[in-house]
Amino acid sequence: MADPLITLDGVTRRFDMPRRFGQPALSMLAVDGVSVRIARGEVVGVVGESGCGKSTLARLVLRLIEPSAGTVTFDGTDLTDLSADKMRLARRRMSMVFQDPYSSLDPRYTLEDVLSEPFRAQGLKVPPGRIDELLTAVGLSNRLAHAYPHQLSGGQRQRVGIARALALSPEFMVLDEPTASLDVSIQAQIIDLLLRLAGERSLTYLFISHDLGLVSYFCDRILVMYFGRIVEVLPGPKAVPRHPYTRALMDSSFVPDPAARRTLVPITGEPPSVHTPPPGCAFAARCIRASDSCRTTRPPLAETPDGAAVACHHPIA
């Protein structure tokens, strides 16, 4: 990867819990030392269960949340020490699509207002014809320009969210579970649209999801997160997972074919408490392969020449 568009180096975010009277101060590591490089035109997926830190990571990449440690470099510029003005200019080149198509649009805004906001927020004039063009690009009729969000379906709203993210012609988009609250038929529409847009506008995506099947379909490269860390990097959608957690995730997702029913007993238990992280591998308590070293020493993320990486003392061969 000669010229990565995005480089994350040791990005960490700690949240302090509000202190309660007579109790020790608590904090949680939402994201713990994540290092990733994303090439231009690449579609990188981040997959993990709720609370694994994937949404925090999405916001750290765009500096919507400040990292506690580490740096985020965008096209050679370190975003983490840009001034507010410079950061605003940088935001023209990156954008985000959000999970909830309902709360992501101001109920008082018409679609035209929504789509002109990126320009107004940047102090720019809306180029003539741009609103129509954006609506067309996401498959919405330009008759909807004066409609309010409450008049649209969930799928249509998510298209508006995508159009807004496209408004300033960014190079990089973070997609934070854009289809998680949509029906499957609409999810497929939106994924299809995103793929088409990536091709037409040579976009780079960071796609956050809890659905390994969807990520495998959509992404070039997959990062698996557990408890704030990357535990495995799958270099391609067909790569065979080596981390027991990734394997468990795979075995937990069913296939839409009654002839291919899973007979494996799923893994037990749930992730550990965020306030009392275990000293060793966070997955050890749920892992059938765990040994004493797993419970005491944290396995590093070991890379292999083919671009794969796994953080496990006993990876599956």
Partner: protein, 283 residues
């Protein structure tokens, strides 16, 4: 904005109750504004020979202990009571919005300081706060106005802060920030406009409470000073005549009650109308 407000108003006026309430409010406002044109008497004209007249054609509601026309005093009283309440609530709303927005948007120490003071004052009954303030500022129209304004300040600061806080975590605000919008842009284009509607409805309901508070202060003799008529003041001087001429107390009290009830009914209709709209939004 305007067409949205109009459509809410239309829904609110759709019910019979809403229309009656609005009509009464209109009557009171017209009576207050045009009092000098509507009555042949002066509010402070004492005709002792005419004292304690029962209701008649020339004195619709009768006269008080000084022979002053009760109807006339009621209409002039509406001027004092309404204007004091409206101005006082206007004061609380504008200051409350500013404090609430500062606390809600910036959070941290500023927020904690404001919240502590606000929560403290909020748990005290408005009448006590107003009594303290009148004690400090002194009785009269200005004292009452300021006292009521400050007494309700906590409520509006709380409301505005809560609104801003919950809006701040809405995804559309995060979306705006991801597009490079500054704090002031977000405040001006998302937070304040979305806070305004619930604050205005609450302000309307609070105006009703303020009318009662003004009347109570007046009743204690701490409101507008004689001979300026106010609904509370009229009842204060009427207590002595309670057994002889209950009308002196009955009619101003009725005016307060009907006006406050009308404000509540109309305000509830507005809330319901806005709810209908938000439900449409979700469907």
């Amino acid at each position: 904005m305007i067409d949205r407000s109009l459509s809410v108003l239309k829904v609110a006026l759709g019910s019979f109750k809403g229309r009656v309430a609005a009509a009464w409010l209109l009557v009171v406002i017209v009576a207050a504004v045009f009092a000098p044109l509507l009555t042949p008497y002066a509010y402070d004209l004492q005709t002792l020979s005419q004292a304690f007249q029962p209701p008649s054609a020339s004195h619709w509601l009768g006269t008080d202990e000084f022979g002053r026309d009760l109807m006339t005093r009621l209409m002039y009283g509406a001027r004092t009571s309404l204007s004091v309440s409206v101005v006082a609530i206007g004061l609380s709303v504008s200051l409350g919005l500013v404090f609430g927005a500062i606390a809600g948007y910036f959070g941290g120490r500023v927020d904690r300081a404001i919240t502590v003071v606000v929560d403290l004052t909020w748990s005290f009954p408005e009448i006590l706060l107003a009594l303290i303030l009148v004690a400090i500022i002194g009785p009269g129209v200005t004292g009452t106005l300021l006292a009521i304004g400050v007494a309700y300040l906590a409520q509006f600061t709380r409301l505005a802060r809560g609104q801003i806080m919950s809006l701040r975590s809405e995804t559309f605000v995060e979306a705006a920030r991801s597009l490079g919008a500054s704090d002031s842009f977000i405040l001006a284009h998302h937070l304040i406009p979305n806070t305004l509607a619930p604050v205005l409805v609450t302000a309307m309901l609070a105006t009703g409470d303020a009318i009662i508070l003004e009347a109570t202060l007046g009743f204690f003799g701490l409101g507008a000073q004689p001979p300026t008529p106010s609904w509370g003041g009229m009842m204060s001087s009427g207590t002595a005549q309670l057994f002889r001429a209950p009308g002196i107390i009955l009619f101003p009290g009725l005016a307060v009650a009907l006006t406050v009830i009308a404000i509540n009914i109309f305000g509830d209709a507005l809330v319901a109308a806005m709810d209908v709209r938000s439900r449409e939004r979700k469907a």
